[in-house]
């Protein structure tokens, strides 16, 4: 188990380093730099050269990368050209916003998807399970881009929920949390609903597989109430495939949150990444990528560990497979 954890940790570290390095180099290799687009037209050449030198854009790519890497290992990611402030603080702020959104969406998806999946998967037929299945199939065909457009449309028509941003300026100090929750509704549902549909389908499938197992039949035959068998024993056995999927979901949530953040003007990592890429803000691009990779690494790590706890075979199997 310790070896397994160490292995996964090493992979997580590698992921962060590779992704941030690759984005730094990509942004540096891109045609043009931050200053060709912005003030170049009117600025005098001397000031421009000074500004470039300040951000290291006058160095060769190799030297620039080496210097950046050296300071990045000390958690100094340079200054953003776009915002003219250290990347670290900026990223921490935006990453926290994305984390709030992602965690809420994941919680919503789990709270909606899992129980419905258990319910739909433990019945053979019937109207309600059929309706749940149909709703899931419809939602599965709606990526977050579409759900967020639809929800924004509904919210704008009805005026029930705010459609953009994270806070309203007019909110009373006492109502800040409530204000945040109201702003969270549209974006978190936009990410959470398709996820809920996916979890429901997976859980239903796993559930209907488990329901056919002899141990369920044995429990029922011995007179254990059906409800208890389904929600306790069968559910426990059916959680394994779901736990495995949570690792993949982190990537899905990040991908989905990009479209949602842009559409609902949520001040998160995705929207920042887009801005940084378009402006050729090299340090900010690399910082965003590092933060995103860290999210991903932590998410996969957590799900791997959860899987290993639910099912010890997972870590042994993985270790054996890697040793072979």
């Amino acid at each position: 188990m310790t070896r397994y954890v160490a292995r996964r940790l090493a992979f997580a570290g590698l992921l962060v380093v590779c992704v941030s390095s690759a984005s730094f180099l990509l942004a540096r290799l891109a045609p043009g730099d931050f200053f060709t687009e912005s003030i170049a037209a009117g600025g005098n050449p001397e000031a421009l050269a000074r500004a470039r030198a300040r951000f290291g854009l006058d160095k060769s790519i190799a030297a620039h990368y080496r210097d950046w890497l050296a300071s990045a290992v000390r958690f100094d990611f340079g200054d953003s050209m776009l915002y003219d402030r250290p990347v670290r603080g900026l990223i921490a702020e935006r990453a926290a916003n994305t984390a709030v959104l992602a965690v809420t969406a994941l919680a919503l998806a789990t709270a909606i998807g899992l129980p419905l999946g258990v319910f739909a998967g433990s019945r053979r037929g019937g109207l309600l399970p059929g309706a749940i299945r149909a709703a899931s199939l419809l939602l599965l065909s709606m990526p977050p881009l579409l759900t967020s457009l639809l929800l924004v449309f509904i919210a704008a028509r009805t005026g029930w929920f705010p459609i953009a941003g994270m806070r309203s300026a007019s909110a009373a100090p006492s109502g800040v949390t409530l204000d945040l929750i109201r702003h969270l509704v549209v974006p978190s549902l936009a990410i959470g609903l398709p996820l809920a549909a996916m979890l429901e389908r997976l859980q239903a499938q796993a559930m209907s597989d488990v329901i056919g197992e002899p141990f369920v039949l044995a429990a029922l035959a011995r007179g254990v109430p059906r409800r208890r068998v389904v929600w306790r024993d069968a559910l426990k056995a059916a959680l394994r495939p779901i736990a495995g999927v949570y690792g993949l979901i982190v990537g899905t949530v990040l991908s989905g949150s990009f479209a949602v953040e842009v559409i609902t003007a949520w001040p998160g990592l995705g929207a920042l990444m887009l801005q940084a890429l378009r402006a050729r803000d090299v340090y900010l691009v690399a910082g965003c990528a590092a933060a995103g990779a860290l999210f991903l690494a932590v998410g996969t790590l957590a799900s791997d560990l959860a899987l290993a706890l639910v099912d010890p075979r997972a870590s042994e199997g993985a270790a054996a497979a890697e040793a072979a």
Binding site: L15, C18, V19, S23, L26, A27, L29, A30, P31, L137, L138, L140, S141, M142, P143, P144, L145, L146, L149, L150, V152, F153, A156, R157, I163, A164, P194, M198, R201, L202, Q205, A206, S208, D209, G212, P241, G244, V245, L248, I249, G251, T252, L254, S255, G256, F258, A259, V262, I263, G270, M273, L274, L277, R278, V285, A289, G292, L296, T300
Partner: protein, 358 residues
Amino acid sequence: MTRRLGVALIAVAVAGALMAPLLAPHPDDVRFAGLLNAPPTFPHIVADDGSWHAPFIYPWRLVSRLEQRYEQDRGRRVALVWLQSAAGPKGPALQDAAETRRLVRSSDEASAPLLLLGADSFGRDVFSRLLYGARISLSLAAAAALGATLVGGLVGALAGFAGGATDDVLMRATDFFMVLPAMYVALALRAVLPLVLSARQIFLLLAAIFAVVGAPFIARGVRAIVRSERALEYAIAAEALGASAPRLLVRHLLPAARGFVAVQVMLLVPAFIVAEATLSYVGLGFPDPVASWGTMLHDASTNIRVFADFPWLLSPAAAMFLVVFGLNLLLQGGDRSPKGSRSSGARSAKASRSFTLG
């Protein structure tokens, strides 16, 4: 039943795209300056006085320029004309009209055009743009899926056939790629390339990027299939009979991966459609006058209020949903594998894959 519905949805979308010049009443870039954000004009056959007529429309009359509110001019019936070739410029708005036979148009194009799905904020016909946009969105997704199949098939075949170090390196690389959120990879690759390009260049560029992003999903499966097939008797027999490596691969091993590749393509195509829409939405897709489903959504959302008041601007989103839904139904209907742990594994992979790009 589900399968048939899926086939029908896809067929409608593809037919609409292929026959866009015939079905669309207008070219995709014609602007009706007096009809910005005008609502749809529904064809009627019964007039207000109860009399019956050949299909006609009531033209829109501007009520408030500021709010872009229109009301129907019930006093005037504008007949529809069928299968008439568009006879060149009629008014200033129609300067660019292409000479082609149109299935149906209004008899008074300049002042009362047929707008089946309303007009966008530039006064362009949304229905026509939807059809022309389908050409770009669908063909881009198809081209990218083809590219991903070729690249992924090549990498997978190489890894599975060569084995050893080649296999290790290639598969580690694909594993790494698959962990990354595909949308961000596509975004990063697109954003670091020149931002202003022609429509043709953007098409090729996006197809190439999507192909690269989608290839690992194909490569992994093809590699596994090639590896396991290679150990089977028929492959050994073919090799013993002197079949060369390329022949063995192309004639014998790769055909075994057909089913897998078909399923993957059906997963990749909707992901690519959505990816194009997302990139175009954020302004990294096709340039302005070009209609794609993504650029239409981009135009619709320059101001959130716009599509709240003018819901027909969201029709590309509906079209996208129907195509993705159709492909999903096709997958569901085609999935006749017996229940069991293996099939549920495959299904979970499918379900989790289906919108990693979105």
